[in-house]
């Protein structure tokens, strides 16, 4: 065998060997992630059905700016609304932009709640944006966003 062709074929083989495990890993990660593993944009459009979302000061998202422990991050969403039959908050969605599963919680409220607010504690895998998407009774979507710095990740 000539030296040139030998090197070529051997090089190609080496590349194939290094490529295979990477492909395998990617597929395994997909399997584990499950059907909910969407990107933030995909999850947002799944919630809104492609409608426009406006960032509004009516929605208050309170989360710590720096979270020491990503395993427990308190998040509270409150929305200015009279909560009457005609004008109330229908849904509150909490999303973590870089988690494996972006969607954290969907909350379906009713006028019996008196005022629109939802508090919970979420896990964050790293520094990322926490997004709250709110659906009003007239069908419009409002949102609020906050960046949370995480020093120790909370997933795994």
């Amino acid at each position: 065998m000539e030296r040139r062709s030998f090197l070529k074929s051997f090089g190609a083989m080496g590349a194939a060997i290094t490529l295979i495990p990477q492909l395998g890993y990617g597929e395994e990660a997909k399997k584990v992630a499950g059907p909910n593993a969407l990107s933030l944009d995909a999850a947002m459009s799944a919630i809104t059905g492609g409608k426009a979302v406006t960032f509004s000061p009516k929605v208050t998202l309170s989360a710590p700016e720096i979270a020491e422990n990503g395993a427990v991050v308190p998040v509270k969403v409150s929305v200015e609304s009279p909560m009457t039959e005609k004008d109330h908050v229908k849904e509150i969605h909490v999303l973590a932009s870089k988690n494996n599963n972006v969607r954290c919680a969907d909350v379906y409220l009713s006028p019996a709640n008196g005022s629109a607010s939802f508090g919970t504690r979420i896990k964050l895998g790293g520094t990322q944006d926490v997004v709250a998407v709110v659906k009003m009774s007239d069908g419009t979507f409002l949102a609020a966003k906050q960046n949370v710095k995480v020093t120790i990740g909370g997933c795994g």
Partner: protein, 111 residues
């Protein structure tokens, strides 16, 4: 499977008709994300998380939640409730392995 322990707190403790109170509901649950590995065997631990919580006031649904594994261990769910009179608050929680728990709390407004 161990039973899910729950906790309900109404803040403030004393309230009257017309007030808006905060209802905190906590469930003791491992909330496994399905991403963690067992330290000894190296196998992935199956996802195990609460995926549905329903708040009922006098058997009428007031708030429904659909949740995923991104919530913390022993998750807290806090919503507001307008007091319209005495009644029973019932909270149902379900996890993805089919286990469910039901908790009730009497609502007794003063004055």
């Amino acid at each position: 499977m161990a039973e899910i322990k729950t906790l309900i707190k109404i803040k403030p403790k004393t309230y009257s008709v017309g007030d808006v109170v905060a209802v905190d509901f906590m469930a003791m649950h491992p909330m496994e994300s399905g991403m963690r590995k067992d330290k000894d065997s190296g196998a992935l631990i199956l996802a195990h998380y609460i995926n549905e919580v329903t708040f009922l006031l006098n058997d009428k649904v007031i708030t429904k939640m659909v949740t995923w594994e991104s919530l913390s261990v022993n998750p807290l769910f806090s919503v507001n409730l307008k007091i319209t009179g005495a009644g029973t608050l019932k909270i149902l929680a379900k996890d993805n392995k089919g286990q469910s728990v039901e908790t009730t709390q009497q609502i007794t407004p003063k004055g």
